[in-house]
Amino acid sequence: MKKSKSAYSEPGKFGRSEHHIIVVWVDNETGVLARVVGLFSGRGYNIESLTVAEVDKKKHISRITIVTSGTPEVIEQIKLQLTKLIPVHKVADFKRNDPKILFKELALFKVVSSKKNQEKAKKICKKYNSIIVDKSKKSFVIQVTALRREIDKLIEVLGPLGLASTSRTGAVAMTRGSRVFK
């Protein structure tokens, strides 16, 4: 065992880590993103992806979607700590595998390759609501919306077909059906 002389206790047992999507409604004011992100870094929470934009122009409300992972206790703390921030209005938390929730991520791929490979690549993307947003003789840029793991997979598959550049957003989430998170 490593000989340590810390004045603090040893870590206890860790619970199982789960993926969650945390949605935060905040006042769109200076520094609000820094407060949210600072809370995560300061308390050692994880951020896998982060998406933020104003969703209500009149009330200046921004919606922040954060994909994170942690034990159930940590996820609970994240929610409670976020709720304490002054510009935060409400916090929603969804498990990544919750069937009642829609998750989407948007990605842009630039493929530079031969005609043949270009066609192959387009075909592969078709399943994911793909739209060609730009094309030239040697290349095209395609937009897809899909789940995170699907985009991960696409990057893998498109690689050999001439994938030259990838840009992707973090996840955005919404409840299915008529229910709205209050």
């Binding site: 065992m1 004045a7 047992k13 820094a34 407060r35 206790e73 409670l80 304490k84």
Partner: protein
């Protein structure tokens, strides 16, 4: 329509409407317009400190002892960075502070201007909230909101950063009444769920080994909460222990009080926490100095946690029942329930808890706070005990620095009232006590204010003696001088093979001469026989005093939860010292 005021005037109008009487601060380039305006507001007294950290701790001492928010002015750049320690300290101990800082003019922000720093960036993690005010018309609202955020829910520090040009600009002023809604902590003002209350009462009725564990939340809730704690404890006949910051909520000399708990808590308090079957935590936060290794913390108990801050629940320890509430309102409902519906509880429950009390008495017999006194050298514990005996009949306010002396003060000074102990609990800030005493004395003129200090800690903010002298504050700095950073030395002795690396202070100043240099009074005690008379002399002087109490250099602070052991295996002092600490244990101090 309407009169217009300069930003600086608006600052003072806000302070007046918030009924602020005292401001601690230090002027500088970026707050000069505010300082210029000071002369026009006679109801607000400014206390000039010698360092911005001192302003912060003084504001903390003021807030803790008066239950009003502490207000401070600092300038931009170094003024703010110096205040950061105090803001963090207030954040950890939930003390309401409103810090108003100057900033370089708006057009220079971001240019690395002279004395510029990213104030809101630096203070974001050590305040409840902060604001940079770029429009003078937002200023009044922002400052009033700042007071509201600082004082409601779980209290804490806030900062309002005002660029110099905004202090000059003219704007309107309107006072929007502070509606004191307590929603700023994620819903801390929700009504207590009666089901939860019933469940708690049921648990209390079923328990045969109960204990109350109360903390700073009871003090923060106000004197009424302390009264109710006393009532509840006598209605139930349960034992009670307290955290460091909660001392005074329950009388320290009452037989139902088991003393402080935690790393240097009493044997009976820690054993009772370990063996209880019901733990009722009111306004404490399961700090790591209390729990030790969480996995082995009080294994057989059902735990109830009452806290105003929802994020305190489940942060460190899993609990069986949680109630989000102000300590006072919960105590009110609980005492009412016991007075009205369960009148006979005390008598009917006596039988059930009698074995528990017998067990507690057994632990008490260990007399874990005992020490071997001496005729030749002053034992630090003895010094604190004598100080207590000679001041207990006065309404005495105690502040402390951080270290062994702090623990001895907590162990041997019996606090009987709330808001009488001002100590840096969460952050453990050496140098806290002297400036805090300044703030306490400002808030409580005519009262006896003593900083129980260590010579190492007190040197960190010694410059504030000059503040005390300037404002004629007869604070007493009672230094337990062992020439070591005592707690560091103790840990080095126990964990680092007595390698006293850098914990001995060579070339200490002559504290008596130092006091005289500040225009204060210096007193030195070296022998136990002269201690009482010298303490009396200190109390009688109507001037700031530095009391240099030369104590045993090698004394360790016991009892102590040793390394790697659960709460029920405490070290009791010199008779246990020979016991070897296991390697694994060394990590667990």
């Amino acid at each position: 329509m309407g009169k217009v005021f300069s930003g600086a005037e608006i600052v003072f109008k806000c302070l007046e409407d918030q009924k602020v009487k005292h401001v601690f601060g230090y002027p500088g380039g970026a707050v000069l317009p505010i300082y210029d305006e000071l002369k026009n507001h006679k109801s607000i007294k400014h206390i000039l400190v010698r360092h911005e950290q001192g302003a912060g701790h003084a504001a903390e001492g003021y807030a803790r002892s008066s239950r009003k928010p502490g207000v401070m002015f600092v300038t931009s750049g170094p003024g703010v960075t110096n205040a950061v320690t105090a803001l963090t300290d207030a954040y950890m101990d939930s003390i309401p502070i409103v810090c108003i800082s100057g900033q370089v003019p708006t057009h220079l922000i971001g240019t690395d201007a002279f004395q510029e720093c990213d104030t809101t960036g630096i203070t974001r993690p050590c305040t409840k909230h902060n604001w940079l005010v770029k429009d003078v018309n937002d200023l009044a609202n922002t400052i009033h909101k700042a007071f509201e955020v600082a004082t409601t829910g779980r209290p804490g520090p806030v900062l309002v950063d005002i660029p110099k040009d905004v202090q000059f600009k003219k704007g309107k002023y309107k006072f929007k009444k502070n509606n004191l809604n307590k929603t700023f902590n994620g819903g801390g003002n929700k009504k207590i769920n009666s089901k939860h209350l019933d469940q708690l009462i049921k648990m209390m009725k079923q328990s045969s080994r109960p204990i109350f564990y109360t903390g700073g939340g009871v003090i923060n809730s106000g004197p009424e909460a302390s009264k109710l704690v006393r009532e509840l404890v006598s209605l139930t006949g349960f034992p009670i222990t307290s955290t460091l910051t909660g001392l005074g909520a329950y009388p320290g000399d009452d037989p139902q009080f088991l003393g402080m708990l935690g790393m240097h808590g009493t044997y009976e308090a820690n054993n009772a926490m370990h063996d209880c079957d019901l733990m009722i935590n009111i306004g404490a936060r399961f700090d790591d100095r209390i729990t030790g290794k969480v996995d082995e913390f009080s294994p057989k108990s059902k735990k109830v946690h009452i806290d105003i801050d929802p994020s305190s629940i489940g942060k460190n320890v899993k609990v069986d029942l949680s109630i989000i509430s102000d300590a006072g309102s919960l105590l009110k409902s609980l005492t009412t329930a016991f007075k009205e519906k369960n009148k006979n509880f005390l008598n009917s429950n006596k039988q059930k808890t009698s074995n528990w009390w017998k067990k507690i008495e057994k632990w008490r017999e260990k007399r874990s706070l005992n020490f071997i006194n001496s005729d030749t050298v002053i034992k630090p514990q003895h010094a604190v005990k004598r100080l207590y005996e000679l001041t207990k009949n006065k309404d005495t306010f105690i502040t402390t620095e951080v270290g062994q002396h702090q623990m001895w003060a907590a162990q041997h000074y019996k606090f009987n009232k709330p808001n009488r102990l001002m100590t840096s609990g969460g952050l453990g800030t050496m140098g806290y006590g002297l400036p805090a005493a300044v703030g306490v004395q400002i808030a409580n003129p005519g009262k006896l204010v003593i900083d129980i200090a260590g010579e190492a800690s007190v040197l960190m903010t010694m410059q504030e003696m000059s503040t005390a002298a300037q404002h004629r504050l007869p604070i007493k700095i009672f230094i337990l001088n062992n020439q070591y950073m005592g707690m560091v030395r103790q840990w080095q002795e126990l964990l680092h093979e007595k390698n006293y690396s850098e914990s001995y202070t060579a070339a200490l100043p002559d504290f008596v001469k130092l006091a005289e240099a500040y225009g204060c009074v210096g007193i030195r005690a070296t022998k136990p026989s002269e201690l009482d008379n010298k303490i009396k002399e200190m109390i009688d002087v109507d001037k700031p005093v530095i009391f240099d109490c030369e104590v045993d250099k090698g004394e360790n602070c016991y009892p102590m939860i040793p390394s790697g052991k659960p709460h029920n295996e405490m070290l009791l002092g010199s008779r246990d010292e020979k016991e070897e600490v296991s390697d694994e244990g060394k990590t667990l101090v």
